[in-house]
């Protein structure tokens, strides 16, 4: 069973700094990580491989330095890493991204065998749109299963899959035909730590690296900036709220006194709350 996992290298947003003056990102020293949501997809893929045998390929579109993240994925124990990198991809939005990834996926099926499933994470922490997955599915005509919290069963021979999908207010149990594109929900598993051999293999592994042309892309106008209908007009830091919080003078007061003051302050600012509470407690 061949499973391809699309993963992205992202800046660790916990460490993003905004230039106090120009409001642009100070990239200096901001470490990059594998998009945390993608780790669940990678682990899920490896579990099904371990069960049915086969291979897991990870695919990233990004700058050459994204190789680091792919190598890291190899240390977890995936079998192959493909880096799709080309200056033509610079400035891709989700539409252009799914275009490029779809092309790479076609190439992957030719070179390394057709994937029965393509996994993505729920979303990235930089783009954070959850669109690339559906985009890929649409472009490759794969059946789309998003927000999958559990893969109930896979029948490789019969090419069918049944999953549990997180929907509003409940879980949808869906059954469809393979090949399918599945976006894996966070928290469904925990990424494993590779063995020393995995680490050693990863350190020396050759990362398959393709340019746009290598991936069989002929029409560059569909890539990167030119292929992106959306345009980022400006990036800015959230405006800080003008006045700071009013501090309840705690000082020497007892907890009870502070609590009382707090409650009164709440009722003073939101009288509605007191009346609502009355109704609620009366109703009990």
């Amino acid at each position: 069973m061949h499973i391809v996992v699309c993963m992205k290298q992202v800046p660790d947003s916990a460490q993003i700094r905004v230039h106090p003056v120009t409001n642009t990102i100070m990239r200096q020293g901001v470490p990059t990580i594998i998009n945390p949501y993608d780790l669940f997809a990678i682990e899920e893929a490896m579990r099904w491989r371990d069960r049915f045998g086969g291979e897991v390929t990870v695919l990233t579109m990004g700058p050459p330095m994204a190789e680091e993240s792919l190598r890291k994925a190899l240390t977890f124990g995936v079998d192959r890493a493909v880096l799709l990198t080309d200056r033509y991809f610079a400035g891709s939005d989700t539409l252009a991204t799914s275009f490029a990834l779809a092309a790479a996926l076609r190439k992957i099926s030719q070179e390394f065998g057709e994937p029965l499933m393509v996994f993505t994470g729920k979303q990235t922490i930089d783009g954070d749109t959850a669109q690339v997955g559906p985009g890929i599915a649409k472009r490759l005509g794969l059946h789309q299963l998003t927000y999958v919290s559990r893969i109930a069963e896979i029948d490789p021979a019969g090419r069918r899959i049944t999953v549990e999908r997180r929907a509003e207010g409940g879980v949808q149990v869906l059954s469809t035909r393979l090949p399918a594109l599945i976006t894996i929900l966070e928290g469904v598993n925990e990424i494993r730590r590779g063995t020393l051999d995995d680490a050693y293999r990863a350190a020396r592994a050759k990362i398959v690296t393709w340019s746009a042309a290598d991936a069989g892309i002929a029409d560059f106008s569909k890539c990167g900036l030119r292929g992106s209908p959306t345009i980022v007009k400006k990036v800015f830091a959230p405006a800080p709220r003008s006045e700071k919080a009013y501090q309840i003078p705690a000082g020497e007061l007892s907890m009870e006194a502070i609590a009382e003051k707090t409650m009164q302050e709440i009722f003073k600012r939101q009288p509605a709350i007191e009346t609502d509470l009355m109704r609620f407690s009366a109703g009990q």
Partner: protein, 365 residues
């Protein structure tokens, strides 16, 4: 969007790259809102979107239309009626058994057919699991731009949709345009926009359309739907009062203090992301950028530092009360009322204070 930051340095140059709207798109007019209704009930986010859509339509001097997809005639009619009362001028209805449960194939087909037939310039959907699933496929099918999880929608001077959204886990905001493609698509998360006033008895035009897709052509089948058990179903997003705890509570046991206060207040409880990671609370109770956005009348945050990713999820609250031992905790920058105190001691005291107050008044009146 994925490359937003790279553009940050030279935004103009990029925006400058495209300007004139191609001829074939000039015909695209009007603002559309997708009405999300599953199991007979319309998701409130759809009404929030109608409220915002109304403003955009007026600014553009065009009509506001709602799109209702479903299998049940009456339910659709009801959704349509509601849509009018929340500001729609027109409602497009597709009624078909294939639309009984949400399935990407059927809904994408219905939606794209409608867009191609009636050509809206703006299409808004709720950033729910359903909305995000649908929006992604629709945008890719139509090969147009889609801006997800917007926190603010506006019409800029050139008359195009300026969609502002957080990026980098909330550390930054970016404003995104879809200059020369149509429709301009955006999703907005529940509770980010205020609920508009309902105008009883407001009516409008209904356009019935059909789905050109037979059930047999749809590969994906819904085996069953397991509704969340009321008990563990967090109504966070729409709760009037929310009490939340953070790592400052130090242990799962102490988190009980949050639940107790919530109980007395008839409130929902939630927490910061680390608590989900530690397994103190379930992920449907996470508040913030990657969790729920809330807009309660009262939000009480105990032992939460107020990181930007948390902040963006709660800023819509009418009154934010923060309990934190650190007077410099960032949460005091956006809370309205702050108490520098040990939450582990204050929470029980607060619970007691409310309990007393309520019982006393109950006896009184």
């Amino acid at each position: 969007m994925t490359e937003a930051p790279k553009q940050a340095q030279t935004p103009q140059s990029r925006a400058g790259t495209k300007k004139e709207l191609p001829e074939h798109f000039k015909a695209y007019k009007h603002v559309w809102v997708f009405i999300e209704s599953e199991h007979g009930a319309v998701h409130p986010v759809s009404y929030e979107l109608l409220g915002e859509g109304r403003k955009l339509a007026d600014k553009r001097g065009v009509e506001l239309a709602a799109v209702v997809l479903g299998c049940d005639k009456d339910a659709n009619a009801a959704a349509a009626a509601a849509s009018f009362e929340f500001g729609a001028d027109v409602v497009y209805i597709v009624t078909d058994p294939a639309l009984s449960h949400y399935r990407n194939e059927a809904f994408t087909k219905a939606m794209t057919d409608l867009v191609n037939a009636y050509k809206p310039e703006i299409l808004l959907l709720g950033a729910t699991t359903l909305g995000r699933d649908l929006a992604g496929s629709v945008a890719t099918t139509l090969l147009t731009g889609l801006t997800a999880d917007c926190t603010e929608l506006a019409i800029d001077d050139e008359g195009s949709l300026a969609a502002t959204r957080p990026t980098f886990g909330g550390s930054l905001l970016c404003t995104i345009l879809t200059l020369n493609y149509r429709p301009q698509m955006a999703t907005v998360r529940p509770r980010v926009l205020p609920m508009p006033q309902r105008q009883e008895g407001r009516r409008g035009r209904i356009v019935e359309c059909s789905l050109n897709l037979a059930e047999d052509d749809i590969v994906t089948k819904v085996v069953r739907f397991i509704a969340d058990r009321e008990s563990n179903k967090a109504q966070l997003a729409y709760a009037d009062i929310v009490v939340a705890g953070g790592l400052g509570l130090r242990s799962a046991e102490n988190f009980q203090l949050v639940k107790s206060l919530a109980e007395v207040l008839g409130a929902e409880y939630g927490g910061s992301r680390p608590l989900v990671q530690k397994g103190w609370i379930t992920s449907d109770r996470q508040i913030g950028q990657t969790g729920k956005t809330i807009r309660p009348k009262l939000y009480i945050a105990a032992g939460i530092s107020g990181a930007i990713q948390h902040r963006v999820g709660v800023e819509g609250a009418d009154l934010i009360v923060a309990i934190n031992t650190d007077p410099n905790a960032p949460i005091f920058d956006f809370a309205h009322v702050g108490i520098v105190a040990d939450a582990i001691q204050l929470l029980p005291a607060l619970t007691e204070a409310f309990r007393k107050h309520l019982s006393v008044n109950r006896l009184a009146g």
